[in-house]
Amino acid sequence: MSNNNKKLEGVELIKNKSHFLRGTITEGLQNQISGSLAIDDTQLTKFHGIYQQEDRDSRVERRKLKLDSLYSFMIRARVAGGICTPSQWLAMNELADIYGNKSIRLTTRQAFQLHGVLKKNLKETIAKINSSLLDTIAACGDVNRNVMCTPNPDTSIAHQSVYDSACQISHHLTPNTTAYHEIWLDKKKTESSVDHEPIYGKSYLPRKFKIVLAIPPSNDVDIFAHDLGFIAIIENNRLIGFNVTVGGGMGCTHGDTETFPQLAQVIGFCTAEQVCEVAEHVVKIQRDFGDRSNRKHARFKYTIDDRGIPWFKSELEQRLNWSLAAEKPYEFTSRGDQFGWSENHDKSLNLTMFIENGRIINNNKSQLKTAFKEIALLNIGEFRITANQNLILAKINKKDKETVITILNKYEVVFKQSKLIDNAMACVALPTCSLAMAEAERYLPNLLTQIENLQIKHSIQNRPIVTRMTGCPNGCARPFVAEIGFVGKGPGKYNLYLGGSFIGNRLNQLFRENIDESTILEELDTIFKDYSQNNLNNEYFGDFVIRKNYVQSVSHGSQVHSLTLEIK
């Protein structure tokens, strides 16, 4: 793929020449003739948490009108572990109204996204996010992204300690460059402030890097789908350390068998005090050994896959100058969120609420956004974003429960959902994401309703099935670890994957390629019928389709698309 190489050198070159992520962003912001930034700079703004997007629905029509595409920007704010205060929630809410498209998107990485921000409003929006004590630096780009952590305080009495570790890692791996402060916050560069990136170096990482922390038995963060993971080991209500996982990742390219999703593997155990040191050295190994000549082969998972776990472990331990301990036993039982009210160890309450596709918006169904604004104005508890794009109002005093319920009722916020929808997730896709080949967020709810009808037809509506959809194979909604995964191929056409495990420790396999809605429903109808008649007591759907040979059990990412090879 020599042509891709050409482009790849491009991104590496851009980073290298960017003068620590400055490029010509400032000049681009001043240019009034275009709503966009220079192409090279759009690579750099990702490191600042900003994606340039264009309205793809109107692109061709506008060209006819001799008008440039309608550009706007997606801004992603980092929220380590997904926890924010009511006042931070209010700040995002206000920015969405003034500069965004009047909605807030909760992401699969427990972060905030604002969509539709125009170039002329970028600077002010970013400045206001920062004054709310959130930031956007490294929310995207070839660096460590938002650090995820199981958000439910009722998971364990030791939750706070795990969350603290997440924040430490996040802080430790934040880029050092002062470019961000100069460009967005008008901080002048001083003579003495020399840019230096002790961890990343001036070309940063070869590709994005994702870190998560999970608190068993919940695998809500999909620990095996990320570059680096820490599984909290808690004994006697005290965090003693973490099992370390490496080498997971979702993204691949249609038709390119050199690319594949991969699951992370456990390589040992470290204490809570050692966690930043481990994270730093893992990142540095990827910095030094990751493939910078081919962006499609640049993720950490390929570094691990190409060289093997033994090599990696020895490289890591050599750099650490100490050895990881043997992994400790752990057990995961679920990935979904437990909806409704729950009680914490300190007797405070949490309310976990299903948010369709993570989109906080007022629409004809309910005034979701207004309701949360009003709750935030009470200034009680915390807002916690889950890895499934849902929301927890956490640590609420019992006395405030009725007030919260009254507000939710007032704005017709109803959370009665189904097992299928509760376990479903979709990425943003069309019309703003430039990678999308098919709809996801705008379409999944509709498809789910029809799948649910099939479940009802076969009386399996009480069986939870993890269902996920993305508009492209980069996998933002982690479709390759779903029991039913849909990955967009073209308008109205999806690849259908089956056989991921319920708890997320097995990849799925391509079952049907490039099929439309009616074919999807036909296929599922047949399998659901079989499932309803022949499942062994409480057998999960993902396990069933493997036992019945609809797909094979996948043990390595390269087998996810083995079907494609057979057809060719």
Binding site: L65, K66, L67, D68, G255, K489, K493
Partner: protein, 590 residues
């Protein structure tokens, strides 16, 4: 002729030196023109053949979604370069689809995305090819490379469609189309090799056979005028504001290829409209006239309805009103005629038909056509440069809703923007405007200030200055209500900015923020720089609305001359007056 000369050294050294000296400082375009000119002189005694300044032999077009086709096209172009072919490499998004009928040799590299859809870049080209325009392509030889992904049902469909349609339109495929899957490189290389081999035979031959180029048609006598109009075909009629815009602005391209029409940037185009069929029918029916009554009109026998086509029945003019008042012995009407204020108030809201209804008389068909005046042509600033494209003339026209201003204003814009269609003919002539001309010296900087359709002549200015490779700096001020919906010619202006034809651009979008911002506000912000440009000898142009924009801008100009030139108000006015006298300050306002 050169038989007695060494074929490799046809010129003596001295002659050669003379030539080199003579063409020193010529732009590449000028050199290319000159080469054709000399070739023309050598083969014919006169020098008129083609009407294009340059002849591109091979066009390489690509439509790319992810960039692969672009890279392949660039590779193809590299190969052509090394073979010494004359070629042009263009993205389909930049390519004017109807130029395809002028191509002789064509290479298309195009991908397919989704379910057999053309990539965004190629969408308009694709649409044109399958439109009912049916361009005749029987002189075209081409080769198509199609990229796709065989896991899709409609594999390489866009390439397949284009190939089939080109054949259907008469073009000849020189080698079979090649369809490539994801691993396209090998097949693409093979296709490139074969295509170049084939074209190599033709293009190499034509090297020895330089096509002589024409002299540009001289700009002097325009045989057309308001009484002798040219019937020009509408090549393109495109709305260039979005649905959300408060304005309806159209870009119109007219065909003048076969006419003797020439013009200079800054000139206007007179458009002569006729009354619409439905309007005439209403007029006749309302007054129970006989549409077929034969009358004596301009010493010819004409049917009443026919005669009405070219007479002004929208706008009421004073002489007609006077005649009508006398005819009906109406004191009230006479009063209106005698008081200009009342007259203006009266006619601003009424058309001739309203007058006949309000004050009925026994007016005859003959009396009507004897007293109504001929429809006045409407003048529009030309929005293109003749030397840049002698085949076409472009206009930028805002559709004025007839109810919003006076009844007459919308006649021509309504005709052009609402009723006419591509392919229709309209009656036009060029109206010279000596008071809105680019500086004679191409090195002189210019400042252009325009709002709304006031951008029109400046589009021509920019085309012309780019074509001439003029070294003078160009600065544009432009204003309209919204960046998103009515930034007229945004894509073109972006290109001019990118290639430095436009040195500076300042924009005022009045409704994009709470506080309204107009071009005059931008003038104020940039006052010091404007003053510096004026002191450097810049020419200043204003085009657009007379009352709202031009007055305000002029006030700001006076301010900045006072402030930065250290002058009294009177001196500042004088300064501007002198600029005017020296033709350095020119206005085209309406």
């Amino acid at each position: 002729m050169y038989s007695d000369l060494n074929p490799l050294e046809p010129l003596a050294l001295e002659q050669l030196n003379n030539v080199i000296q003579a063409i020193q400082g010529f732009s590449p375009q000028q050199k290319m023109w000159l080469s054709g000119y000399l070739a023309g002189l050598s083969t014919h005694e006169t020098s008129i053949v083609s009407d294009k300044a340059t002849e591109i032999q091979l066009s390489i077009l690509y439509g790319s979604q992810t960039g692969n086709c672009r890279l392949l096209a660039e590779k193809f172009a590299d190969a052509c370069q090394s073979k010494g072919f004359s070629f042009q490499l263009t993205s389909l998004s930049e390519y004017k689809p109807r130029n395809i009928s002028k191509e002789k040799y064509l290479v298309i590299i195009v991908s397919t995305h989704g379910e057999g859809e053309a990539p965004d870049d190629a969408a308009l080209f694709y649409e044109y090819l399958f439109s009912d325009k049916n361009p005749n392509l029987k002189n075209l030889e081409y080769s198509v490379l199609a990229l796709g992904d065989s896991s899709y049902e409609k594999y390489c469909q866009t390439g397949v469609d284009i190939d089939n349609q080109l054949k259907k339109l008469g073009a000849k495929s020189i080698i079979n189309r090649v369809d490539c899957d994801l691993d396209y490189q090998e097949l693409a290389d093979k296709w490139q090799l074969e295509t170049i081999e084939h074209f190599g035979n033709i293009l190499a031959k034509s090297e020895n056979n330089i096509t002589p180029l024409s002299l540009i048609k001289p700009y002097s006598k325009n045989s057309y005028n308001r009484n002798n109009t040219y019937s020009s075909e509408i090549l393109s009629l495109q709305k260039i504001t979005t649905q959300n815009s408060v304005k309806n602005v159209y870009h119109i391209e007219l065909n003048i290829e076969d006419s003797s029409i020439t013009y200079q940037v800054g000139d206007s185009l007179g458009v002569v409209a006729q009354n619409s069929e439905s309007k005439i029918n209403d007029f006749i029916k309302n007054n129970n006239f006989d549409p077929h009554k034969l009358l004596n009109h301009k010493e010819q026998s004409t049917e009443f309805k026919q005669a009405l086509m070219n007479l002004e029945i929208s706008l009421i003019n004073k002489s007609f009103l006077k005649f009508y008042a006398d005819l009906g012995h109406s004191d009230k009407l006479k009063e209106i005629v005698d008081d200009h204020q009342k007259f203006i108030a009266y006619v601003s809201k009424r058309q001739v038909m309203d007058l006949l209804t309000e004050f009925p008389t026994n007016i005859t068909e003959q009396q009507l056509i004897d007293n109504l005046v001929k429809i006045t042509p409407r003048l529009y600033s030309i929005a293109s440069s003749y030397i840049n494209n002698p085949d076409e003339l472009h206009l930028t026209i805002a559709l004025v809703e007839s109810s919003s201003v006076s009844p007459s204003h919308g006649l021509v814009s309504g005709l052009l923007c609402n009723q006419a269609a591509e392919g229709d003919q309209i009656q036009v002539y060029v109206e010279k405007n000596d008071h809105f001309k680019l500086p004679k010296n191409n090195d002189t900087p210019i400042i252009m200030i325009g709002a709304g359709t006031g951008i029109a002549p400046f589009r021509g200015f920019l085309q012309e200055r780019k074509h001439l490779n003029a070294q003078g700096d160009n600065w544009l001020f432009f204003g309209n209500p919204s960046f998103e919906n009515d930034f007229l010619y945004q894509l073109e202006l972006q290109n001019y900015y990118k290639d430095k034809t436009l040195k500076r651009i300042d924009l005022a979008f009045s409704r994009d923020q709470d506080q309204k911002i107009y071009v005059q506000d931008r003038i104020k912000q940039q006052a010091q720089d404007i003053w510096q440009w004026l002191e450097k000898g810049a020419h200043l142009y204003i085009c657009g609305n007379k009352d709202f924009m031009a007055k305000e801008v002029e006030a700001e100009l006076i301010c900045l001359i006072e402030k930065f030139g250290n002058k009294s108000t009177e001196q500042a006015h004088n300064y501007l007056k002198i600029l005017k006298l020296n033709k350095r300050y020119q206005k085209d306002v309406y």
